[in-house]
Symmetry: C2
Subunit: 383 residues, 2 copies
Amino acid sequence: MVECRQCQSVSEVVKAGFLRGRQRFYCKTCQVHFTVELPAASPQKAARQTTIIDIAKSLGVAPSTVSRALNGSTDINSLTRQEILRVANEMDYRPNLLAQSLHRGETHTIGVVIPNIERPFFAGVLAGIQNVATEAGYRVMICQSNESHSTETLNVQALIASRVDGLLISHSKETTSFEHIRLQLKKGLPIVHFDRVCNEVETAKVVQEDFEGSFALVEHLIQQGCRRIAVCAGPPQLLISQTRLEGYKAALCHYGLPLDDTLIYHTEFKQSESLTALNHWLSLPEPPDGIFAIHYGNAIELLVELKRRKIQIPTEIAVVGFGDELIAELIEPSLTVFHLFPFEMGETAASLLIDNIIHRDTFSLIIKKMRGELRIRKSSMRL
Amino acid sequence: MVECRQCQSVSEVVKAGFLRGRQRFYCKTCQVHFTVELPAASPQKAARQTTIIDIAKSLGVAPSTVSRALNGSTDINSLTRQEILRVANEMDYRPNLLAQSLHRGETHTIGVVIPNIERPFFAGVLAGIQNVATEAGYRVMICQSNESHSTETLNVQALIASRVDGLLISHSKETTSFEHIRLQLKKGLPIVHFDRVCNEVETAKVVQEDFEGSFALVEHLIQQGCRRIAVCAGPPQLLISQTRLEGYKAALCHYGLPLDDTLIYHTEFKQSESLTALNHWLSLPEPPDGIFAIHYGNAIELLVELKRRKIQIPTEIAVVGFGDELIAELIEPSLTVFHLFPFEMGETAASLLIDNIIHRDTFSLIIKKMRGELRIRKSSMRL
DNA sequence: GGCGTTTTCGGAAACGTTTTCGATAGGTAT
DNA sequence: ATACCTATCGAAAACGTTTCCGAAAACGCC
């Protein structure tokens, strides 16, 4: 039936089971197993990018020579290099970064994890990161946690799988455990926290003037004559929420105003929460005469709602918030904010990380605080 | 002086030049060249991610077996798999996507080129892209052209170097030549255009209702009694600018209004250009009684400037624009817009691209048009 | 026990680079 | 010529996977 592949004999060949769907044979004389060949598959080759080997073949030189020509090694004849570069250009050669990275053990890519790319603050940070990274020859890979802890963990794992050289992360509001960070840190991965940082892990960090900004805003309200200042706080587990709340408390304390827990309302950065907060405050026996919103989104919402209810701003209730948005300037009345600089924060974080990547040995653990600016506008100008 | 590496003889060894800084020798008997060994380099090994080989070694099995265990092949004993998975988990194994992609010839990554990540429209598109891509198991790599043609070309090359499986692109306002796109298309790379598309290349496209939206906005102005409608157009080389301008012209024509070129002003999407435009229009013998801004940014700027000059909106001049922004709703007077849905556009573009990647043979060249919505607000309600 | 079969695993090639090592062909002084 | 040297190139290993091929052992059935 079937010829042995080696001795061509037919008589000594016996069947020997199936292997991956194909009949298998055994030649007793040669003592060898084999299967019949499948007809060659589709000769249709998928279009590929040109490789160093393609260039080498077309010129009759070795791949190593081509590599040398492309990488500016001196170990090559200038005529050879010239010719290779010509052909490479002709064939539109683009080095395969996968192969390069695999070989080098570094990708020249940094990973970024943010809660949400649509929030203008984070978009600004991203732009700053890209700016510095591109300048330094690094690529950027962006993941969104969508404010979910499990997604954030998956993001980190995905970036690790892509073998990023370093990690920039701003935590989701859900995140209270930092094992996923600590694990990578232990493996020696450079990590820089920004904005929503945490104290539990030893990384370099870039933060806002959360305490100082809150203090300044509340101080400003007090100076404008407010005596019962409500605060629209963020998720209590988030460190920046806590810090900003402490700034609020410190300002009250500093000016001898009582701390009233009924004036503190925690939100989750969601739509129309500020409405519930407002209802709560207005139902108090002594409603507030000033509101400090940790998040500009809440401040805007409150402004709109107060206007709808025909409550005078700032005379009946003054409003201030953290923020960096154009809208704060354009809305009426314009909103007093502690202005942030997301782009610069992104730049700072990225350059810190890249510095840590390059000088891996002297891993710096500094904490940089970005400067903010109190911008006083109509929503709080009572005097 | 020096022993031959093979025969240990000393007498037959002669110097033979220098090789990369090290003295080279030649043994006449063995006819062999050699250099003296350098002392072994730093034994300090950089921390690495664990590999399949690490797992294999720690269990005494072959790497191929580990691979089988991890990839759910049936060709493996369930106890072996169990043990391998246990160790893999213990060592926090993460597959090296570089190696996987290099082997498979595909990266499961799509590249995105946008003009600017800080523009809320594009941030929204990105979010939509990420949403669909993540769902389909694809990663996303984002580049900004910063409205520069050369940067856009570099972006495309960088993404090609990263061997993305497909490309989503919205052109810079400078881009009038599309060779960088055509080149990749010729190599068989799936490409989908969105928003700022072009007609010169045969790709699938996702566009807005640019013509229809313009027509609807201008029609609305006419119905509100406007008779001299100015248009704040975009960069003339941009296709969407042209299309929106044509919608404007078509509406005028349809309602029998004359076309006046002095009412058309082209901007470059830059700060405070609308000011110059406004000055120009107001200096005309017959100033406009309505303004249509192609870009919401210009519309907002115009609104602010008109207010500053105490020009009544909409009675003296009505304002409308394209846009998707919250700010249009909050500014006073609120802005009438043709509302866009960037998130949905991103989703559509990404699913179109991924479809093209998966069914590479039946490359679909359809053009999808996203639905917009005319949202009438105070800036144009004269009746 | 012999034949046919299945299960389970290892070896090796391949993906596209870079880099190390070594070989060769010419130099240039004696 | 001889001894030493330099310039230029090729071969091969390595990076971490997957996959193809085949081998060995165990299994089933007369």
